[in-house]
Every structure is written in C-alpha cells, then in structure tokens.
Subunit: 688 residues, 2 copies
C-alpha cells in the first residue's frame, strides 16, 4: 500500500477550500504588487491541490531531503501557486509577510521561482520549456541513483506543471523525445490545458494534438477535467503505475473562480483589480480578508507536510540501516576524492615531460579518462557528436532504457535539452554532468546554459571545434561571436586552454567549482605542449599568466588564448631572433579567473608595453585587456570553408602578421605580411 | 494535366543512372577534399532524382525567377547532393572544376550550402533544423504572394530534404506545429529516414514515431521506400494534392551503393577511401573516372533544366499579360515608397515638438503605424507577446489558415521558429518581416538570428523589455549579456534607441538595410524625448552622436544607450549646476554604425576627457569606447525581481552614481552615492 492510499477520502472534502486558499493568496499578492500572473495559479489550484494533498512527499522541515519528490513549476510565471503552497505547508522562509511582499526587492517571492532564492524551489523557471526539460534530467538522475543504490534509498517522482508555452517551445520536443526514449516512468507532467496564451486563444497559433504528440514520443497520455479532484487523483494514480513518462492534460479554465474574468486571457498576466477580487470573494464564499487563511484550511495543508515528514523519517531509518550509507552520502554530497587532484597533477607532469602534441579536445578525453577512473560522480554525454567531442572514455558505458547503471548519455541531436537535462542532473544531486557539442551550437543551448549560470550549477560544457580551426565545415560551424557571448554571461567560467597542460588544469578547476558552470572551448586541431615553467602550480587558475617572459625589458606583450597561443609564441621567438624585439607572451585561458585576481597581479601580467591580442574570434571584449593602443589580430567577421591552415592564412591569424603588427607598434615600421585579404579587413583598426 | 504528368516513363528508366551520377560526384569530391559527408547524398540520390526529374521547376539560366519551386537542403552537410545537381542541370557557376575544389578556399562548393555564395542556393543550412524551419517561412510567403496576386503569378512548391538531426532539433517542433496550423499545403518535406546518426543507430537516442508526430501537428505523412522511384513519385504526387503540409519518410540506407559500407554511420561524415570507392565503381557498374559524367546521363539531367526554363517562360508570358505586373515587380523587389521616409521625417518633427514621453516599445508601435500605412511590404508578428512587444498596428490583420491576405503572424510561443520563418519570408522575396519577443529570449532564437546575419537578410527583430527596466519579472526575464551577444555577431545592427526620435530614426535605418538584419532593443518603461538639436538629420545613422555638448571645455564625457541616456543627461545637468563640471552626453544607439564612421568623427564624438559609460547591461565591449581610464556604470551580474525604479537604485544605475563617479574622475574626490549595494559590486573596477 503506498502513501497516497493511506489518505482517506475525508481530506478530499476540503480540497476545494484548500485550492481556494491558493487562489486568494495568488489574487491578493498580485493585486498588492500590481504585477504578476494570477490566471495560472487559479486555474491549476484544484489539480495541484490534489497532487499535493494525496501524493507528493516533501518535508518543509528538511527541504533538501534527497529522496523527496521533485515538484517543478515549468510555467514559472504562476509563481504564486508555488509560494502559496510553500506558505501553506510551512516552509520556514515563506511567512505571510513574504507573500504580501510579492515581487518586491529583497523578498523571497521573486517574480519567477528562483533556485536558491527561497527554500524548496527545485529549479529556476520562467523561460518557457525549461522546467519540463530540466525535470527530464532530474528523472534521469533519480533512475541513475536508484540503479546505484536500492529503491529503498532512491524512489521518488518528478512532477511538473507545464503550460501551453512550455509545450510550444522547441526544447519541449527534445526533452519529451529523450524522456520517452529512456522510458522515464517516474516523470509526470500536468499540462495546464486552458487553451489560452497571452495573445488570446491558442487557436491563434496551434492546432497540435498534444496527446497524440506525446504518445508518438512514447509517453502515456490522458486528458481529464482539471477541476474534478477524483478524476485528477485517478489520472495521477495511473500515471504513477505506467511504465512510461506520463502526460496528464488537465482541462482547466484560466483564472478559474474569478467572478467575471474566468476563462479570459486577461487573467494571465495582470492583477484582476479590487472590484473583480471582491466579487470573486462573494462568488466563491470566501469572507476572509487578504492574506488570511482560516485555521481549518491551514491544518489541512499541514497534513501534507506531516506526511512528507513521516516519509522522510522512514527513509532516514532505512538509510541508517543501509550498508551503503557512507557511499550514498558521499555520492549525494558530490564529494570528489582527493585522488583526482593527485592523479591530474601526475598527468600534467608526465605530459610536460613528454611534450604531448594533441588537439585540446583529445587532451580533454585523456584527462577525462583519468577523472572518470578516479570518481564515479561524472556523467558524460554528447549531442550526437561523441566521436568529435571525445567525451566518452573507457569507463562510460551508455545509459539506455532499462540500464541506468551507465555513465554516458546519448542526448541525441538536442543541444538545448542536453543543457537542460544537465541542469536537472546537477540539481537532483549525486552527479557532475558534462556534455559535448560544437562551440557554435552553444547557440542552440543558450536558454538552458544561461540557467546553469543563473542557478550556479556545477555543469561542464565540453565545446569543441572552437574556431576556424575546424576548417572545411565553414562559417555555419565556425564560432566567431560565441566566446564573447559566453564571456558576457555572468557566473560562467569560459576556459580556452592552449595545450594539454592547460586542458588538464582547466578541467581540474571546473571540477572544483560548486556554484559556477564551466565551458571548455577546445580545438579540433592538434596543438603542441607549450608550458615553459617546471612548477606544479595550476597556472590556469590565475586566469592568465606569463607563459614566456621577455629577457630584459618588454617591448611588446602578446596576449592569446587556446590555439592562438602557439602563434603568439612563434611570433615572439621570431621577433627576438630576427628583430631583437623582446616580446612577452601571456596565455589567458580564463578571463573570469583573471578578472578575479588582484590588481597588482593583473598589472604585472599585462605589463606596460604595448599589447597585441590574438584570438581566432571577434574583437568584442578584448579592448579591456589590450588597452587603447593595442592591436587585435583575429576574425573580422564570419569564417569560410577551407582547410584550417588556409583559413588561418586567409584571415591573417599568423605569426607573420603578429610580427608585422609588433614591428609597427614598437618601431612604427609596418612591413607587409603575406596576407590573402586586405589588411584593413583583417585587423580591426588600431584606434577607437 | 500538370507538369509532372507530362514526363513519360522512359525517363524513369535512367533515373538510377542519374542518381548514380550524384553518388559518384559526391564520393569523388569528398575523397578529393578528404573532408565532407558522402552518406546522405548517396542515400537520398534516388529520391531526390525523382523529385527533380519529375517535379521540380527551377531554371538554371535564371536562378532567381520568383515563381520557381524552392528546394531546401535542410540536412546541409549533404551539400554535395546539391552541388552535384547544380552541376548536372547546368548552373553557370558550378562547372566540374568547382566540384573538384569542394571545400577549398574560394571555391563555390563550401562545406555547407551558403546562400549568396553560389547561384540557386535558397538558404544557408548546416545548423540542423534551420532548413525545414526556414522553409516554413518560404511556404508562408508563397501563400501570401498568391493571396495578393493570382495563382497564375505565384504558385510554387517548397521542397525540403531533412535528416534525423533536423527532426530531433527542437526548432523542428516549433516549425511543424506552425506549418500544420497554417495548413501550408505546398510545403513538402522528404525525410531521409536512414535510422543513422553520427553516434550510430538512431535507436541510441530516439524512439519517436515521426509519422504519428507529424500527423499530430496536422500534417499528411507517408512512408515509402526511398530507393523505389515509382513509389517516391506516387508519394510526391499525393503530397502535392493534399490540403496539408506533407512529410514523406523516405526509407533509405545511408551511403546507398557503397561496396561494403552501405548502411554504416561511417559513411556519414568522412571520405570513403580510394579502395571502397573503387569497389563501389565495380559494384554499381560505373566505369567512368572521377569527375566525369557520360553524355547520356548529362542530357537526362538537362531535361530537368529545360522543363524549368519552359515553365519560367510561360510564367513570364503570364506576368507580361497581367494587369498586376507593375505592382508585382515592385513587391518582389521590395521597393519601398519614398513616402515612407517623408512620413517618418514628419513623424520625428512632430514628436520633437510635442516632446512625447513614451516607452520606446510604444514609440516603435507608433512608428510602425506610419510605416505599415505607407507600405504593404512589412509583415509583423510576435512570439505570443503582441500586447507587450506592440508589434501590431491598425493595418495588420492576422494571417490564419485560409487567410493569407493578412499581414501579421501569431508565431506562437516559438521564438526560434519565428526567426527562421522570418528568414524564409525574407529569402522568398516580396516582404520585409519583423517580429517581436523579449530581448532576453533572443537566447531562444539565436540559431536562426545568426543565420539572418550570415545570410545578410533584411529581417527586423523587435526585442522589447530590454533591461532591468522591465522590473518584477526578475533575472530570468532581464537581459544582461544579450546586447554583448548581439553586438558580437557580425553583420547585425543592434539599435538601442533612447527616445521616440531615435526610435523613428532606427526604424528608418533598419528598413533601408538590404543586406543586414536589425535588432531594435526597446524599453518597457516610458522615456522622455531627449533630442536637443532641431536638425532634420537622422543622427542615429552615425551610430553615436553628441546629444548635449559641454559649454566650454569637456571635463567628462558620458556615454549611454537607450533608457540610460536620460540618466546620463540628468547627471550632466547636475554636474554643471551643482559642481561646475562640464559634461558632454553621447548617445550611442548603434555601435556598428559608429564603428563604420571615419576616425575623425569618432574622435570628435568621444572627445579627450575621461569617460563614463552607462548602460543597464554587462560591461563586455564597453572598454573600447570608454578607454582605459573610463568607468562603467551598469550591471555587475544578473538582475533581480522588483519594481524597475527600485532595481535602478539597487544596482546604482542612477544620476547620483554617475555624478559621484564623475567627481572622482575629474577631481579625485569620491562622494558616496546613495547605493543599496556595496560600490565595488556595482561598478566594475576602474583599472584593467
């Protein structure tokens, strides 16, 4: 007999009142803020009340209890639904004062639910489609944990409330295809099927048969009256039993209960107004003032919390009795063995000695072979570019329907869902996900990558083919603006290592980040080992460092990242040998880390000499480092299709060209470099 | 009797040979380049030969003939399929020498098909899912043209070849939902159903029933043997007759014909090798050397061109006889009436006089009311944010199934498909599409926006709610890095107008661009009219200009865009009145245009005084304009949920703060501004 069946039907008698409590808290909070979305909380109050009252196991006294059910409000604009419930079941940080401060500076009740901002928020939602797709990752993680421990330690559902917007967004297609394929039977989506979107009726823009669509993807799909508690309960029970992920289309009326506006898109995104709310109090027989919930309704909601607490305590007893307790706790806490750092240090020392020349994507795979051997926390994957991203290692057996012991996800040609699923895996706990695609296709994953950064999740993006160095595939595949786009994103480390040593260093830093996602931008083409010093220090951790110092004074400083550091070094050597010009070379694998260094270190690294920046990407952002007299050698626009070497020469990203620029900077003596394009197209101008 | 039925069945006898010509050209070109994708051209050669041989009407002697059928190779990596056909039917720029220079610098045969790079390429493909989604826009445009003229002037099909990747990508969901809803009956997608993706069998990552999925979206869907010409022909005939968009699943074997590798994912993305190709010549009975096509096969292909030419000539006769000829030609040529410019000049003059204070999104709507009244070329739309983006005007009746006379598309909650459809509408010709969403959701549209820029299409993105000024919706809805992301994109104008005058100016510039897409970043909040000068000149066309000059010398220069120009002006006035400090204010509505000015103008605008940049976004990119001693007043990271005014104060984007920074810059005398956050969090540091 499961927990839901223990609830007697008396509880059902008050579900209407429990739902009305949500309705009025939502109406009143939005009204006070004069901002927000009452329509969805009112429309879904009945369905979600049944879900919480009869099924969900969460414990407000221990919101992070690992085996709790996950509740994801994918239609995040209906945040008052979540805040009202959190208040009613007694989350410590959600007193009534927070509800009445809805959407105000410093309140817990932000416009959309934000992970980490208030207790019990499982993921940040608002950008439509993210919640349902993140939930797929959570459900994958649940199955992976269950496969690693017994179902007595991991056995929970992931529930999602999604709106029409979530199902129209493209990411939902990627996510439901993946979920259906993997048969994520404990993923249950309640779709708020109200047939209203912001512009009006959904008839304006869609004729999709959603049930047929989900069934085509391998889901169980039902449609029920979302205002009928018994029908809802039956549907949820069936969804919990089926061996497939489940969609429940909850036929609802937006703004359900509103005196005159029920069913109208006007309830979607604005306060209803005092008059309408007063009339709604009348209509629904709710005589209470704003922000007041009568004790009997409050205590009905508190039974939900009590059930959650009991479930959590029972789980703790099972955990205490388990022989796997220690391993479970280390896993769920994502504790990395110290061994990983030691092995990576050894790896670096060995390859410095060997001077291994490999593409940084291949270096990354070699590093991953070490990491995946030393910890079982890492879960690899690729958006159907496994052989290009080199994200698979000898330890990473593929996950497949029925086999969640594996450690590798074939995400399919689905960059956006991959990123969202990685967010979900990280949010669930127990794993460190990394996944690969080409750097240029970070475009496709942007929406979810931004949420990795906003939520501060330890997710690692392995983005290979990071410049024109990928060659023949041409401009559609050659990133030019993507480093800038990613560097502009707050709380995201963008690493672009120059060789095998920096690759190992950057991986080590990325693994150590608890609150910041990482991008590793990696080359397709082979790059020589460049590290000059013998020290053990992880120099990439400083963000930028002097790879090669000038012998006496610095005449010029060459700044570069990734595959262009080799070019800068070659230029420096030629300047010294042929021209007697002393050039220092600074490798800058991570701007964000460099920015975090103290000013003295930054000044020392950048030096006082004029600077030339070399990167096979656009200029935006480089002026900060190269200064007003600096010269940028990089991409003037989109790339082209040709072998990589030809492209580097074509765009003038060559040692020849750097030498020519240095001569002009140092001596005012420009010597024409052998370029196939006019020089003014190749370099951005020297002046503002 | 339609054109296809005029082809007698004798042609079918040689279709196998015609297809083999494609196969060997693809194999040989990839082999010579040692780079490329032979598997798809070989697998789809039979199906596409039937399509071209029996149905398609294109005329290589006039590739841009407006009523040609559109052929979109959505699986763009199979570019040799397209180049081989273009060679065989006689495109002037595709002699055999180009095929043998596949993927080399300067050749017409780029790695992926690039619009504008060679004749007859309808759209740039490669990033998966873009082709099929762009084709939806082309098919919409076809219906719109047919609704405006008779079907005797516009009556063509849009054919797409899509792969598994195209159908797995999320954008495909958005696109097929929209196409099914609009009943785009002349859109026909041939899906290369080879069950192979890069990682291996598609079973690794999907269990989707694609036929059921497309039917759920309102499509006609069939599955046929892609190697059976008669079955293919029947399927295409049915697809042309049905009243719905059509999917034809072509069951194929990747690398069809290859001696030992047929059916293997190894044929997907690499040369087959000399041995395999020799064996394949043996197996298929193809005794010819590389890059040679026997005359009888060549002449079979030339019949395709001849049929296209006949169709084009017949169409020209109809056009010449049509009373609508002049209107048709002006439409297809996207000729804007001169009246538009005059009306916009009047609009600016009137509102300068009235000093209208409105949100720039509202100003945009007022401008659009003028534009849409003066030209019928503009096609509006929004991704379900019509009332927020203010993209609808009195002239823009909605397009709906069966009504393509309208001028407004309810794109649904589908930013990515909206952007791709706008690309398709622009590529088709006859219209200037503009579409709205929130600036932050440019994330969702990135893949297609990049292609707008790469292809150089006159597409206009109306991106409202452009900063923390949107207020309560919080950080998920507040763009911070998006201006940098868009500015980093080559060939994209990013406009951020400061008031109603600049909004009108920026719209005028955007409308005039033939080869560059535009972003208009617009405020949610009201902004006062700021223009000081009386002149008629479109000052925004300079990209940046001195809005308010200092009276005598300049002590400091304040740079700002959009809603922050008001703040800079207020600070300048206070500095003058209270401190006797002379500040110039520079409005920078478009960096790209400013960059294109001559150095003297740029120097004059920026001046020699120290500079403060003010923008409610991240710093990346600003150092170029503010110089090494500059100070940035903007966003230090993600936003927060609160009323807009509170957020501006919280993040220190205020005149108070600008004044304090100016005092320190000019006098070294920092006066604490009233900030709610520590200052070092608010401003980025002054030094590198």
């Amino acid at each position: 007999m499961n927990v839901s069946q223990q609830i007697d039907t008396r509880a059902a008698a008050s579900e209407r009142n429990m739902a009305d409590a949500i309705r009025f808290l939502a109406m009143d909070a939005v009204e006070k803020a004069k901002s927000g979305h009452p329509g969805m909380p009112m429309g879904m109050a009945d369905a979600v009340t049944v879900l919480f009252n009869r099924f969900i196991r969460i414990d407000p006294s221990l919101p992070d209890w690992p085996d709790r059910d996950r509740f994801v409000l994918s239609a995040g604009h209906g945040s008052m639904l979540l805040y009202a419930i959190h208040h009613l079941i007694g989350f410590a940080d959600m007193p009534m004062a927070e509800l009445s401060a809805f959407r105000q500076l410093g309140s817990k009740t932000a416009g959309h639910p934000e992970y980490g901002h208030a207790l019990g928020i499982e993921t940040t939602t608002g950008p439509l489609g993210q919640g349902i797709s993140t939930a797929v990752g959570m459900a994958i993680a649940e199955q992976m944990m269950a496969a690693r421990f017994t179902s007595s330690l991991c056995n929970h559902f992931t529930y999602v409330v999604a709106g029409d917007g979530c199902l129209q967004e493209g990411i939902s297609h990627e996510a439901i295809d993946l979920a259906g394929h993997l048969k994520l039977r404990k993923l249950i989506v309640l779709w708020d099927d109200n047939r209203i979107s912001i512009d009006g009726s959904t008839d304006l823009s869609t004729s999709m048969n959603q049930l047929a669509r989900f069934r085509a993807a391998g889901w169980d799909a039902q449609s029920v009256d979302g205002h009928d508690p018994e029908a809802m309960a039956k549907a949820i029970e069936r969804a919990r039993r089926t061996r497939k992920p489940s969609l429940i289309a909850c036929r609802t009326r937006i703004g359900k209960g509103a005196a005159t506006m029920e069913g109208s898109h006007k309830t979607h995104g604005a306060a209803l107004g005092e008059k309408e709310i007063a009339a709604t109090r009348e209509k629904l027989g709710w005589p209470h003032p704003p922000f007041f919930v009568p004790p009997e309704i409050r205590s009905a909601w508190q039974r939900v919390a009590a059930r959650g607490r009991m479930a959590r305590e029972a789980w703790e007893i099972r955990l205490d009795a388990s022989r796997s307790k220690k391993r479970y706790e280390r896993t769920i806490g994502r504790e990395l063995d110290r061994e990983v750092a030691d092995l990576l240090a050894k790896f670096r020392a060995a390859h410095r000695k060997k001077a291994s020349k490999v593409a940084t994507r291949q270096a990354s795979q070699m590093v991953l072979e070490v990491i995946n051997g030393a910890t079982a926390l890492t879960i690899g994957g690729s958006a159907d570019l496994t052989g290009s991203n080199l994200t698979m290692t000898s330890q990473t057996e593929a996950i497949a329907p029925g086999n969640f012991k594996g450690r590798y996800l074939h995400y399919g040609i689905r960059e956006h869902a991959m990123a969202a699923a990685m967010n979900g895996i990280a949010l669930h706990g127990g794993f460190i996900p990394y996944g690969g695609t080409f750097l240029v296709f970070s475009d496709y994953a942007r929406g979810a990558m931004r949420l990795s950064a906003l939520m501060g999740l330890p997710v690692i993006y392995v983005l290979t083919h990071d410049s024109i160095g990928l060659g023949e595939d041409g401009p559609t595949h050659q990133p030019v603006e993507h480093l800038a786009m990613l560097r502009a994103t707050p709380n995201l480390n963008v690493f672009r290592p120059a060789d095998i040593i920096e690759t190992a260093e950057c991986w080590e830093i990325a693994l150590g980040e608890k609150k910041t996602p990482s991008v590793l931008a990696l080359s397709r083409q082979a790059l020589p080992m460049l590290r000059q010093s013998e020290g053990e220090e992880n120099l990439s951790a400083r963000g930028a460092y002097v790879l090669k110092e000038a012998r006496r004074r610095r005449d010029v400083t060459l700044l570069a990242t990734g595959s262009e550091v080799e070019i800068a070094l070659a230029a420096a050597e030629r300047l010294q040998a042929e021209e007697g010009i002393e050039a220092a070379v600074v490798s800058m694998p991570c701007w964000e880390k460099f920015e975090a260094q103290d000013a003295a270190y930054r000044r020392q690294v950048l030096g006082d000499a004029p600077r030339i920046a070399v990167e096979a990407a656009g200029r935006l952002g480089w002026d900060r480092w190269m200064g007003p007299d600096g010269v940028f050698v990089g991409m003037p626009g989109f790339g082209a299709s040709a072998p990589a070497g030809d492209l580097y020469r074509h765009f003038g990203i060559t040692a020849d060209h750097v030498v020519a620029e240095a001569l002009e900077l140092v001596r005012g003596d420009y010597r024409e470099a052998p370029l196939t394009r006019p020089r003014d197209v190749i370099t951005s101008s020297r002046e503002v």
